[in-house]
Subunit: 415 residues, 2 copies
């Protein structure tokens, strides 16, 4: 294809460009002031100071030049931990929790994950695709261009495969790129209440092979927590997934210091997520293993838990990502920058760390760092434009959507 | 004026109408399912079940009928405590606080209220009007139709009057109705650092009379707190304001149990605001005095303080309102329903209490309960329409704006 046929775009007059590449600009965020980015054929062809962009590029036939009037531009944001596909809604449980019930009490009474499981099993493929598309449209408007999505509300071979096929269908049907994760070990479904071994056997011997043979997931995740799956049960599932060629992730140490983080490190998981109760030794193990710690402050907030301070994480040298954990039970907030504000305000994550956590570190947490999360030549042309003069305003003026334009693979998808 | 000339509108096919009048519908929120509201000449003419609306009204000449397709309708929301008019912005202090500095340390180093004072003094009248209008436009899109706004960043006779004149100008220039509050005793300006008595004398003998003679404020407020104004100093200002005919409000017991709430009760304040550290005796006094307690969870969140549990407030029988406290230092989040979610999740305020706190109780906290905060015949035709099927979703799906239409004084101002 000739140069004239390709989508080619210059984003110009950028007040503050966060490249997330410290070698490309100032400080840890690689900031370039007065910048331009040249996007060509879905990739970034060039980024730098506006004055350094060759006139031949600006004047190339068929090129579009967009003046963003001094606004802030970041890589398209990455939400690296979500449960975005589900049926039903759980306002009633929210009201119960506000009135004093705990998340575990609600789960024990048949609410929680199992209530969403029922609604998700009952929903048709098309219903789930429509619900997911509507949520992704909201997410996109906040600047998110890549989103990890887990199964785990099916909890049967058929329903888990349905969820993963919904995720695959959604990946092609709207602009946000999806990273599919198999989470068959999210909860024990009621029909296996007296047969843990039967369910685990089904996850390991039926679900994982079916998921892999259909190419439906990049990762396998396990909810390793007291009352859910033990460390040994989690290990069996994750080892089977690893042998089958999946990457691994772990829901670890959310409600108790249970050992999930150490397991994640031991097995070389790409990420360990939650970690509200992870001990220093576990954090050191994650750092040594290069496993990204994914902070999910929206869940900590919504479950009315104490927020962990990230100083311990940073002292241990762990890389930190920030995500919404969007789901209908513990984290129904889909606003990723708001999760970032919570990480800053309540967990003490510096503002630079929040931006890294929503871009380059989130990319690492989903194994896509070679393509997204950083703005440099050859990377995906995924950009979010924010209608602010200072990138810190995106977190400071919390609860409002500051994103005014989104570009995905070089195309303007939110104008 | 004849009936045909008046603005007349029927909002029909309302899935859930929160009248906030327990006698008009079910439960404490006075809910009517399958409702309609007839608005006429800026007032509510009728509300009830859609089927009970006389056909003659629907078919009246010149009437507009809007079908809201089963959505939720509430009274226009009321943000009863804001500092919405100011110059400058304080992202830098936010970054410092995330890195560990306290609000008081930042204030002691010349940041805090005084930094906004300098920027507000330096800003022109027109600049402040434009900044305020832009913020009010955001607030309106969240469903807010009445907003209290305080002075307090001028801290000189001239600059306090400028702020209050800006508020008056804004009140006529955009749809949100404003309730002006004089807060000359917000901080001691640097030029009076060694002359507290001089500043207090100026507030009492120059500012209050000037504010009253120009009719610029409905209320006088004082920041009664350790290191700001003592209980005795606050009392002198508030008594002077009361004698001059202003209603009174108090910033009370935010950072320490300082005595502000008791003072508010003693003086019959319309509201006592913050109250994170108010003791049981103080709460009982507020209840006895009929003073509304205004919860400001956005400030508690953003200052990384512990949230008080409202059980003590409710046990004491205090009426509770919820507000953003929108300001550039301690609460830069302008999203009122998000403050409501925080009040529910982190303070234990039941969902019914949150809706009352953003409507009927907020109206009481600004002395406008005869006109706004409730939907019944004769009240102002101020409505917010939310694109949800269950009113609890507005709080549950936090961080996203669910408001899809706003009507103020019978006119559609957000279509």
């Amino acid at each position: 294809m000739s140069a004239e046929d390709r989508e080619s775009l210059v984003v110009d007059n950028i007040g503050t460009l966060l490249t997330m590449d410290p070698e490309a600009g100032e400080g840890p965020l690689g900031i370039i002031r007065g910048a331009a980015v040249h996007l060509d054929g879905g990739d970034i062809a060039w980024c730098g100071r506006s004055g350094d962009l060759p006139d031949s590029v600006r004047r190339a036939p068929g090129i579009d030049v967009i003046d963003v009037d001094g606004r802030v531009v970041t890589p398209g944001l990455i939400d690296c931990h979500t449960h975005l596909v589900f049926g039903g809604s759980r306002e009633g449980e929210f009201a119960q929790r506000v009135a004093g019930a705990t998340y575990q009490e609600i789960a024990a009474a048949g609410g929680g994950i199992v209530s969403t499981m029922r609604a998700t099993r009952a929903a048709s493929f098309e219903e789930l695709v429509e619900l997911g598309a509507s949520r992704l449209a909201t997410m996109l408007r906040f600047g998110v261009t890549t989103c990890e999505v887990k199964s785990g509300y099916g909890l049967s071979v058929e329903a888990e495969l349905k969820m993963l096929r919904v995720i695959r269908a959604l990946d092609g049907r709207q602009p946000v790129a999806l990273v599919p994760t198999f989470l068959g070990a999210h909860a024990l479904p009621p029909e296996f209440r007296r047969d843990r071994e039967g369910y685990l056997g089904m996850v390991i011997r039926e679900m994982i092979p079916a998921v892999v043979s259909e190419g439906l997931a990049d990762f396998c995740d396990v909810f390793c927590e007291e009352g859910v799956f033990s460390v040994e049960e989690s290990r069996r599932v994750l080892e089977a997934a690893k042998s089958a060629g999946l990457g691994i992730k772990v829901h670890a140490d959310q409600l108790t210091p249970f050992g999930g983080a150490r397991l994640a490190a031991e097995l070389g998981a790409v990420s360990a997520d939650h970690l509200e109760h992870a001990g220093d030794e576990a954090l050191a193990a994650l750092a040594a293993a290069g496993t990204v710690a994914v902070l999910l402050p929206g869940a900590t907030f919504f479950l009315n838990q104490d927020f962990p301070n990230v100083r311990r994480f940073r002292d241990a040298g762990v890389s930190l990502a920030v995500s919404t954990d969007f789901n209908p039970g513990s984290s129904p907030g889909i606003n990723l920058p708001l999760a970032g504000t919570m990480a800053a305000v309540r967990m003490g994550l510096p503002i630079e760390g929040v931006f890294a956590g929503m871009t380059v570190q989130a990319a690492r947490a989903v194994g896509r760092q070679a393509r997204v999360g950083t703005l440099s030549p050859g990377m995906a042309a995924d950009l979010a434009v924010f209608d602010v003069a200072d990138h810190r305003t995106i977190l400071y003026r919390f609860g409002v959507n500051h994103c005014s334009m989104v570009i995905k693979d070089g195309r303007i998808v939110v104008p």
